[in-house]
């Protein structure tokens, strides 16, 4: 009996301690005035970046110190948890990274994120406007972007030299296809590849022509001339034998990394964030890859679009929202923040002032600058005013699903008629969203 009572007391003490700890966790401002924030992200590298920015912030603002409590979760897992916590109104972090594909889900109804417009304002003039617009609804900014994600051409100079092609003279896709036929003839290798299970590449081709998946009101509109041109061009290259659907279905896959790494393909149109994949996964083509603007469809059209991305948001249940918003906008949009985004993450920062800073763009120790033949910032400066927006709206996840799982492969591999496929898909998408 006595022993049982002792056990009971012990159990009660443990429970009480648990409560006491949970109570303690709610303390957000420490004795020295440091404010702590809960931050969720789904990329390990992002957390390194945030830690660095936290240190710099605390040095510069000794009277308004912050402390970030960073949790890294797997991509889908983190977004699910965030959605559940917002749905239930309990347990959400203060600051959170949200992937561009998931962002529209959180814009449904009344967004549970804080209005970031004012916090962004001091930096807005220096930033690529289309990237800020991407994470907005009804003119209010809800998220702060990491990078531009400008689409460019990655050329394998070794293959092109073998075929006597000067990639810098390629200006239109027609010229690109001609060059591709020569490459095929002289080297037997593919000129480029088509993305079959994701829409990064298609978005780039649409964006070049000023097209999009939705109209100005956010209503799906995939039966357009721009869409036809983009798909027809990719399909034509496949039919000519100078392109093929990427191994693994998409360039951003292990199979395709291996394929590019073995020097089987002469070029690839993809967002600049693919640089880090080159550096991490394709060591054998180091010193052979050049970055250049994409060819354009027609004279006078643009040569890039911003694709992919991560928004950082402040949740409306956060404490000291103003401080959180100020920190997030500063960390991602200031020159200091942009420099670190480039150095730590290898992204093309949204703040264009960074692009002009020789200390950053010519840093001899930077692994990205060492890897590539050309300087990515030269290309960025060249296409500065040509980076068009592909909008991410409520309908986007549904539309992407149709392209990822059906339309692209039907057109590329099953010879489906482009217009009929698009018209049928448009009808089904409208039905789903009704």
């Amino acid at each position: 009996m006595k022993r049982g009572r002792l056990f009971l007391v012990g159990l009660l003490m443990i429970v009480a301690m648990g409560f006491a700890y949970a109570g303690g966790a709610d303390e957000t401002t420490a004795a020295d005035g440091t404010t702590s924030f809960e931050l969720w992200t789904y990329v390990e590298a992002h957390s390194n970046f945030y830690k660095e920015m936290e240190n710099i912030w605390n040095e510069e603002n000794p009277d308004r110190k912050i402390s970030l409590n960073i949790t890294v979760l797997p991509n889908a897992d983190m977004h699910n948890k965030l959605q559940m916590s917002l749905q239930s109104g309990y347990g959400a972090p203060d600051i959170c990274d949200v992937h561009v594909n998931s962002f529209p889900n959180f814009m449904k109804g009344v967004p549970q994120f804080e209005d970031m417009t004012e916090a962004i304002a001091p930096y807005a003039a220096d930033c690529v406007p289309s990237r800020l617009e991407l994470y907005s609804k009804d003119g209010i900014n809800y998220g702060v972007p990491f990078h531009v994600g400008a689409c460019v051409m990655f050329y394998n100079t070794e293959i092109l030299e073998e075929a006597d092609i000067d990639y810098t003279t390629i200006d239109t896709w027609d010229e690109f296809i001609e060059a591709g036929l020569i490459v095929k003839e002289k080297t037997g290798k593919y000129m480029t590849t088509a993305e079959g299970t994701r829409v990064n590449m298609l978005s780039a081709f649409l964006g070049e022509q000023g097209g999009d998946f939705v109209d100005e009101n956010g209503v799906p509109n995939i039966v357009t001339e721009e869409m036809y041109n983009a798909l027809e061009m990719e399909k034509r290259m496949i039919d000519l034998g100078i392109s093929r659907v990427s191994p693994g279905g998409k360039p951003d896959s292990e199979e395709c990394y291996g394929w590019i790494n073995s020097g089987e393909v002469a070029s690839l149109a993809f967002p600049l964030w693919f640089m880090s994949r080159f550096v991490d996964y394709m060591p054998d083509v180091a010193g052979k890859i050049a970055i250049a603007p994409m060819p354009r469809f027609e004279e006078g059209q643009d040569r890039s679009a911003g694709v992919g991305g991560t928004a950082t948001v402040v949740i409306n249940t956060a404490h000291d929202k103003d401080l959180a918003k100020e920190f997030v906008a500063w960390a991602k949009l200031s020159v200091e923040g942009g420099t670190k985004i480039w150095e730590i993450l290898g992204f093309d920062p949204v703040n264009t002032k960074v692009w002009d800073d020789p200390a950053v763009t010519n840093d001899p120790d930077n692994k990205y600058l060492q890897y590539f033949v050309t300087n990515p910032f030269d290309t960025l400066r060249e296409i500065r005013d040509e980076v068009n927006i592909i909008r991410s709206v409520e309908a986007t996840p549904t539309i992407s699903n149709y392209f990822n799982n059906q339309i692209l492969l039907d057109v590329f591999e099953n010879d489906a008629d482009i217009m009929t496929t698009l018209e049928n898909a448009q009808e089904e998408i409208m039905n789903q969203l009704s």
Binding site: N80, P247, E428
Partner: protein, 302 residues
């Protein structure tokens, strides 16, 4: 302890309720309540802080939604094929492993059972690599040995389903063998002795004794396989490394529920999908049990 408390615990009419209380509580909290709220949610559109009653709109949308029908077709096809493969094969294997003629029984039982212990996530990933599309993947090397061109396994329906079914067979055969073992152990040996005396051959014994007397085990395995087939998700999610697959060949009902509810934040619509799955599984299972005579008195499963 007071005597009143003691007498309460020992009383024959009240104590049983105390004992089943934990189960009933868990059942109500984690089963009845979620089902009721799923039914309610399926008539609503749900966003943080704003819930709107839609009536039957979610269901109307569902029945004209092509992806949903693809998901139903995929799940049903998968279920039927797993039934065809995962009932006879384990049953025969169980009989073989149970017979006195086989040497190293313990070893083979272990070999068949090991896959059951592996995680579906690990198995799915390994199968994805095995069925890779590049010439270097295991299955393509096997094909190359026979002089065949490499195949993009996971990009078309037939080959994709081959991979999915192989995964299912590899993983569940051992489990079903165990169920059939239990059934075999319940068959009285006297019946076989009597058959021996009557001069029955091995196959005759299997046909007239083993098969009929394994019926309870078979009913049980079919029942759980029907539901396991319909609710399959992880296998296809891992095989196509995500919920998206070419031409939606890997999309299952649960996959569609996940896509709508979690990936696209349409909780109400996803609830409707879930309820349709529940109804479908109930109809199939209840009719199967009815046909097998489960509800008849005096012919119950032991």
């Amino acid at each position: 302890m007071s005597s009143r408390f003691k007498s309460f615990l020992y009383s024959q009419d009240k104590a049983p309720y105390v004992f089943i209380c934990p189960f009933v509580l868990l059942f109500v909290i984690f089963f009845v309540y979620p089902i009721i709220s799923t039914v309610i949610m399926s008539f609503e559109e749900i966003l943080p802080g704003q819930v709107e009653f839609l009536g039957l709109k979610n269901y109307e949308k569902l029945f004209s939604d092509r992806s949903f029908w693809i998901a139903i077709r995929n799940s049903v096809v998968y279920m039927v094929l797993t039934l065809i493969l995962l009932i006879p094969i384990p049953m025969v294997l169980a009989c073989i492993l149970d017979s006195k003629l086989v040497i190293g029984k313990g070893f083979f039982r272990g070999v068949f059972f090991v896959p059951v212990l592996t995680s579906v996530v690990v198995a799915g990933t390994i199968f994805r690599l095995m069925f890779g599309e590049l010439p270097g993947s295991l299955m393509n090397r096997v094909l190359a040995f026979f002089g065949h061109e490499p195949i993009k396994w996971l990009f078309s329906y037939g080959t994709g389903y081959t991979a999915l079914l192989l995964l299912a067979v590899w993983r569940w055969t051992g489990m079903n063998i165990v169920y059939f073992f239990a059934g075999l152990n319940n068959i009285p040996t006297e019946l076989y002795e009597a058959a021996d005396i009557d001069g029955a051959k091995g196959l005759q014994k299997f046909r007239f004794i083993t098969l009929p007397l394994l019926k309870p085990s078979r009913t049980y395995v079919i029942t759980i396989s029907v539901f396991a087939g319909l609710r399959m998700f992880t296998e296809s999610y891992m095989l196509w490394s995500g919920n998206n697959s070419p031409h939606e060949i890997g999309l299952t009902i649960i996959g569609y529920l996940y896509r709508q509810g979690i990936e696209q934040n349409e909780m109400g619509y996803a609830s409707a999908v879930g309820l349709v799955l529940l109804v479908l599984a109930m109809i199939l299972n209840l009719s199967q049990l009815k046909v097998s005579g489960f509800f008849k008195k005096g012919d119950s499963i032991e």
